[in-house]
Symmetry: C2
């Protein structure tokens, strides 16, 4: 790809899109960054398509001219997925933001990729249904699909893998495919839906999603509970899962995170490990679940229990939890962060968190730990001064040890944040020959390597 | 592949496997057939590997000599998946039948592919856990994974797609890959586990599975209930799903199937549409669910309700349901069957079943209808006299109209039986360009087309 090719392609894209194609520096810079430590990498141009046909036309141009294409949702990913290290066109999907169809009787919705999860749930409010996957950020559903997002509700409702019935996607050469169907299941060949979910824009650009909806629970009860130690909190979760109590959310925060909340959000949590729990169900079911959980928690020293079914109190709780990232950043003014993301079998979770805490303390870093403890998934928010290169190096060492720990314990290097740029160097260690298989699939579907190049695959 | 190559390969395989390689006619014929109308197609030889390393060695030989390799589980698939229309080696996995590890605290088990679902559940009995996927036949777990099996419990526990955490598989050239992990979730790249599930042995030979287990329910209640008409039964199911009552199984059988049960199993069901229902949970939860379901069923004219929590009565019920295929075959002595398998959005189910019933009646055929109504998936068992070619032609016309109907309604040509030989001609209609993508993936991973050739892909 020479500079001439880039200019020709951009000129052709301008003919197609008019003012919805920009090479202006502010637009490029707005599509160059991420919320974490990755260096900005601006694209050559930004395009705002409004239809699948336009996405296909854009890809035909870029395919002919070998120009990289990187989809952009809301820019909230943490591993640099949407950066443009090799230039190209950033495909901003924010104008494809329509809810195309809601079918309550089939408990599904069809949406364009730029719809955010919160916008969809506002639209669904009157139907008695909701879309449960909740990664914290108000991400676009296309981005959530491309990164196989999960989050606080995954312990009950699953991740994007479990809640996407089908996709429409545009391949690198502009061909359009539709995967899955509106039926609840299928065994008609390779699961292309699952292949695209988590492919991070390297195999195709998602232009439509058929989503599985769930009934809004009759009652929701939530609580925060402090524990004497990390082990107690984690063992309480294991015992709860094994007893079959269906938790809708079960989140862990450590004492450092509790302190961050207190400083940032004005809460008055004891500086101890906490669980944040939610139950969904019928009024009697939720009461029964909460009572049984309370008994288990008491066995592990859980205190300061305060159940509530008040929507306002619940909203405050999850707003606090979802605000953990800025709260932790505020512990060190001017800091950015590396956010780790391993996921291990739950029997190894307490050990994994304790070893990680010891690593962080030994390095003399600030690094609150929190996570989706019901899935065995936790994050350390390693605070970095962007002007101190030794900070980044220390964080990278801790992160490498975390990855090694996850694999040793039978887990994964990334539970939900994905690969992007940040985790690519760990893929060989996790997948071995399987990573070469991913590369072979990539080459078969994107032979010119124009779709989000430099990410995920070898 | 010439005859000489075949003989060389078989001689090399004999050197490797000794008596666990057979070219004897009875062995070849035992791996040539299926339970339905597909013509027998014997392999050139049958191999019984005992380890992953042996499978890899077999594949290296077959890859070098271009010899087809077809995995064989228990031979219970319905679309000719395991036939050898192009010859080659049938890889009988029945000697790889060990449960390698059970980890109750992580609710997972690691098994070899020849373990059957019943054998695994016997092994799990004392742990308080079970593996829920139940396609009826006592199939091998490797075969169930390769075909992405589901069945009566899928409405509650999901299909193989939802209950396989990871796989080990041997690629066509003998390379071994491991997919997934023991963690509850991962976003580390392409979902190779999901890609292999349902790939029907065309991408790799599954040699190990990590399975998600579930807690044995404290209480199980089941019942049979007759309805005045098809619509009433289906609408009862839709209302139940929308009310959020968690059914563990919800099966539909039509009047013809009820008659078949009465004749074959000596039951005395009214010759009407029936639902067979099961609830799993705590004793109070199950009682509450059953009561709520009873109210809904009554609104739709459901009668003859008889709840039971007796294990013996329940075993009789599901034995009867799982015996539907031989019971229906017995309606026409000497018959074989074509078993259709569409799956539609549940809002279209009553219409789809009614149109299918009209088609079958208009053709003057015997064809009981039954299905996993909670998933929108139903089967017509079209009885065929193998000596009358017009019978097969009529069944194929009905089946073609079913596929067209499924796609028109937003569903799929196969909910759970897979593609194999029988549904390959319908793949283009369902997937369009997506089928070519499946072909591109197949070519990337099996460039010599030795893995189950003639199935699934273009």
């Amino acid at each position: 790809m020479g500079q001439a090719d880039v200019e020709t392609a951009i000129s052709e894209l301008r003919d197609l899109l008019g003012p919805r194609l920009s090479v202006a520096r502010p637009d490029r810079e707005a599509h160059a960054g991420s919320e974490t430590w990755h260096s900005a990498a601006p694209p050559d141009a930004v395009a705002w398509p409004e239809s699948t046909a336009e996405v296909a036309a854009i890809l035909r141009i870029c395919y002919a001219r070998d120009l990289p294409v990187i989809a952009w949702g809301t820019g909230t990913s943490l591993e640099g997925h949407a950066l443009a290290p090799l230039g190209g066109v950033s495909l901003d999907m924010s104008r494809m933001d329509r809810v195309l169809e809601v079918r309550p009787e089939d408990m599904l919705a069809v949406v364009q990729p730029g719809v955010t999860r919160e916008a969809l749930n506002v639209e669904l409010r009157a139907t008695g249904l909701f879309f449960p996957v909740d990664p914290g950020a108000n991400a676009s559903l296309g981005g959530m699909a491309a990164t196989r997002a999960s989050g606080t509700t995954t312990v009950r409702y699953g991740s994007m893998r479990d809640n996407v019935l089908g996709l429409e996607a545009v391949l690198s050469d502009g061909r359009i495919i539709r995967t899955g169907s509106r039926a609840a299941k299928s065994s008609a060949g390779y699961d292309l839906t699952a292949l695209l979910l988590g492919s991070e824009g390297t195999l195709g650009i998602i232009t439509e999603l058929t989503l599985r909806l769930h009934g809004q629970p009759e009652e929701i009860a939530s609580a925060v509970c402090a524990f004497p130690g990390l082990d107690d909190a984690v063992n309480c979760v294991i015992a709860t899962i094994q007893s079959g109590i269906p938790m809708a959310r079960i989140e862990f925060v450590d004492e450092a995170t509790a302190r961050a909340f207190n400083l940032y959000a004005g809460t008055q949590l004891p500086e101890k490990p906490h669980l944040m729990i939610e139950f969904n169900g019928s009024a009697t079911g939720v009461a029964e679940d909460a009572a049984r959980f309370g008994e288990i928690a008491a066995e592990f020293g859980g205190v300061d229990f305060d159940w509530t079914t008040s929507p306002e109190a619940r909203a405050r709780l999850w707003k606090m939890r979802h605000g953990a990232y800025p709260a932790c950043l505020a512990l060190r003014p001017g800091a950015t962060a590396m956010v780790t993301d391993i996921c291990v079998p739950i029997s190894r979770l307490a050990e994994a968190v304790a070893e990680t805490r010891a690593d962080i303390d030994a390095a003399g870093m600030l690094g609150p730990i929190l996570g989706h403890v019901g899935d065995g998934n936790f994050h350390a928010i390693l605070l970095i001064d962007p002007d101190q290169s030794e900070d980044l190096a220390r964080a990278k060492r801790i992160s490498a040890r975390l990855a090694e720990r996850a694999l040793r314990m039978g887990g994964t290097i990334t539970g939900e944040h994905g690969v992007g740029i940040g985790k690519r160097h760990l893929m060989q260690a996790e997948h071995g020959e399987g990573w070469q298989v991913m590369g072979a699939i990539k080459e078969a579907l994107d032979p010119k390597n124009i779709l989000n190049p430099g990410k995920l695959v070898p």
